[in-house]
C-alpha cells in the first residue's frame, strides 16, 4: 500500500471512531424511544441482510440508481463536450444550467410522475436529472481549460474530431471531469432515494418511509446506517482516486 493510501485510510478510521463515539453519546442522551445504539443497529442490519424481502428492495434501488447514473453520465458528458468546444453555445446555455442546478428539483417530481407514470421510469428520470447537471458543468469547464497547445497540436497532426476528443481532450481533462462524475454519483443517489421516498411502492426509500408509518426504529436506523455507509465509502474511494489523478496530472 502506498504511503498516501495509508494516510488516507488512517484519517478515515479516526473519523469513523469519532462518529461512532458521538452516535453512542447521542443514544445515551436521547434514549431507546427514538434511537438505537451502534451495536444494536449493526446487529439488526445483519439480521435484515438475511431476509429475502430486503434484497428485493435493494435490487430495485440498485437497478434504478445504476440506470440513472449511466444516463446522467452519458447525457452529462456529451452535453459537456458539445458546450465546452463551442464557446457561444456554452455562453448561452451555461447560466441556464447553473440556474437549474440550484433549484429544489423535488418540486419537478410530480411532473415527472405524470409524464412517466408510477414506477421505476420516473425514479430513473428523477435520479438522472439530479446527476446530469454537475457532470455537464464540470465537463464544460474541464474541456475549456485544456491547454490550447494540445488542441492545436492535434489539429496540426490532422486528427479527425472524434479522435481529437478521445486521444487529447479526454485524457487532458480527465481529473476535472472525474470530479464532476464524483458529484454526479452522489446527487444521482440522492435523487433516486428521494424519488423512492415519495409515491413509490418498492426500493430502499419506500422501505424507509414505510418504517416511519410503522414506527419501526430498528429498520430506520439500519437503513440510514447502510445508505450512509455505502455513500460515504463510495465517495471516499472516488475522492481518493480523484486526488491521485490530479497529483499525477501536475
Amino acid at each position: 500500500m502506498s504511503p498516501a493510501a495509508r494516510e488516507a485510510l488512517g484519517s478515515a478510521a479516526q473519523l469513523v471512531v469519532v462518529l461512532l463515539v458521538c452516535w453512542q453519546l447521542i443514544y445515551w442522551a436521547v434514549g431507546e424511544v427514538a434511537l438505537r445504539s451502534p451495536l444494536e443497529t449493526i446487529a439488526f442490519t445483519a439480521k435484515l441482510a438475511g431476509t429475502s424481502a430486503f434484497w428485493g428492495h435493494l435490487a430495485e434501488t440498485a437497478k434504478a440508481f445504476g440506470v440513472a447514473l449511466l444516463l446522467a453520465i452519458l447525457i452529462g458528458l456529451s452535453t459537456g463536450f458539445l458546450l465546452g468546444l463551442n464557446r457561444f453555445a456554452s455562453e448561452v446555455l451555461e447560466p441556464v444550467l447553473i440556474a437549474v442546478y440550484s433549484i429544489p428539483k423535488i418540486t419537478l417530481y410530480p411532473i415527472l410522475l405524470l409524464m412517466f407514470g408510477l414506477g421505476i421510469a420516473a425514479k430513473i428520470a428523477f435520479g438522472a436529472i439530479h446527476g446530469v447537471i454537475p457532470i455537464a458543468l464540470f465537463t464544460i469547464t474541464a474541456v475549456r481549460n485544456v491547454r490550447p497547445v494540445f488542441i492545436k497540436t492535434g489539429r496540426v497532426m490532422g486528427l479527425p474530431p472524434l479522435e481529437l476528443i478521445v486521444k487529447i481532450l479526454v485524457p487532458a481533462a480527465l481529473p476535472e471531469i472525474f470530479a464532476g462524475l464524483r458529484i454526479g454519483f452522489a446527487l444521482t443517489l440522492i435523487g433516486t432515494l428521494l424519488g423512492e421516498m415519495f409515491a413509490s411502492q418498492r426500493g430502499l426509500g419506500y422501505l424507509l418511509m414505510n418504517a416511519i408509518g410503522l414506527h419501526n426504529i430498528d429498520l430506520i436506523m439500519a437503513l440510514t446506517f447502510l445508505l450512509t455507509l455505502f455513500a460515504g465509502t463510495a465517495s471516499g474511494l472516488l475522492l481518493f482516486w480523484n486526488r491521485r489523478m490530479q497529483a499525477r496530472g501536475r
Binding site: 440522492i190 416511519i212 426504529i217 455513500a231 471516499g236
Partner: protein, 250 residues
C-alpha cells in the same frame, strides 16, 4: 445586451411557446400538463386570493431560519476549526464526502426525535447548508493576508475583535459564496422535507395537489418555487460578483 443573453432569452421564450402549442394542440394532454398561459393565470389567481399565503409564509420563514442557523453556526465553527488544526484535519474527509450522504435518509429519524413539526425540516435545511458555509469560510480564512493578522496583533485586538474586525471582513467574498450555496440548500432541504412528509408549507401543498390531480394548484406552485429560488440565487450571484470585482478577484 450581449448576443448570448439575447439568444438565451429567445431560446427560453421558444421553449415556453413550444410547450404552449403542444398543450393547446393536445399532444400533451390536460391531465399531464396545463398550457403555460393557464399556469400563469392560475398563479395570479392563487396569489390574489391569498388562499396559500400561510403555506408560502411557512416555507419562506422556515427556509430563512434554516439559512440563518447554517450561516451563524457555520461561520462560528469555521473560526474555531481554523484555530484547531488537528480537529480540522480529522474532519476534512467528512466535509469532502458530506454531500454524497443522502441527508434526506435522516428525515425519518429526525421526525421520531423532534416530532412532526417545523423542527425536523429546519434541521434538515440547516444541516444541508452548514457544511458549504464551513468549507467556504475556511477557504476564505486561509486566504486572509498574514500582514492583516499581524497588524491586528500589533494593535492588541482580542480574538473576538480580530475575527469581527479583521478576518471576517477580509474573508467576506468567500463567506458569501458559502452563503449562496446555503440559501439554495436550505430551500432544497425545507421543500424536500415538506414534500416527503409534513403538515404544511408549499412542498406539502404541491404533493397534496398531486395526489388530488389538482393541476390548477400544482403547476402554479411549482412555477412559484422555481421563480423564487432562481430570483434569490441570481440576486446573490450578482452581489458576489460585485464584491469579488471590488477585491480585484476574477
Amino acid at each position: 445586451m450581449r448576443p448570448a443573453a439575447l439568444c438565451r432569452i429567445a431560446l427560453l421564450v421558444g421553449l415556453v411557446g413550444a410547450l404552449e402549442i403542444l398543450c393547446l394542440s393536445g399532444v400533451i394532454d390536460r391531465i399531464t400538463m396545463q398550457p403555460p398561459h393557464r399556469i400563469l393565470l392560475d398563479l395570479i389567481r392563487i396569489l390574489a386570493s391569498g388562499s396559500l399565503d400561510g403555506a408560502i409564509a411557512q416555507t419562506l420563514g422556515n427556509a430563512a431560519l434554516a439559512f440563518a442557523i447554517a450561516l451563524t453556526v457555520g461561520v462560528a465553527s469555521a473560526i474555531l476549526l481554523h484555530r484547531a488544526r488537528p480537529v480540522r484535519e480529522m474532519l476534512d474527509p467528512l466535509f469532502a464526502t458530506y454531500y454524497a450522504i443522502p441527508i434526506f435518509a435522516f428525515y425519518p429519524l429526525l421526525i421520531i426525535v423532534f416530532g412532526l413539526g417545523d423542527a425536523p425540516q429546519i434541521f434538515i435545511g440547516a444541516m444541508l447548508g452548514i457544511v458549504a458555509v464551513i468549507v467556504n469560510t475556511l477557504n476564505g480564512l486561509d486566504r486572509v493576508p498574514g500582514v492583516l493578522i499581524k497588524t491586528a496583533r500589533i494593535n492588541r485586538l482580542g480574538p473576538v475583535e480580530t475575527a469581527l474586525r479583521v478576518t471576517l471582513p477580509a474573508a467576506a467574498p468567500y463567506i458569501l459564496t458559502g452563503a449562496k450555496l446555503a440559501v439554495a440548500y436550505s430551500f432544497i432541504g425545507i421543500i424536500g422535507a415538506e414534500f416527503i412528509m409534513s403538515r404544511g408549507g408549499m412542498g406539502y401543498e404541491i404533493s397534496f395537489a398531486y395526489t388530488n390531480f389538482d393541476n390548477a394548484t400544482m403547476y402554479p406552485l411549482i412555477v412559484l418555487i422555481l421563480l423564487v429560488s432562481i430570483a434569490v440565487n441570481t440576486f446573490l450571484a450578482r452581489w458576489e460578483k460585485r464584491l469579488m470585482a471590488r477585491r480585484g478577484l476574477q
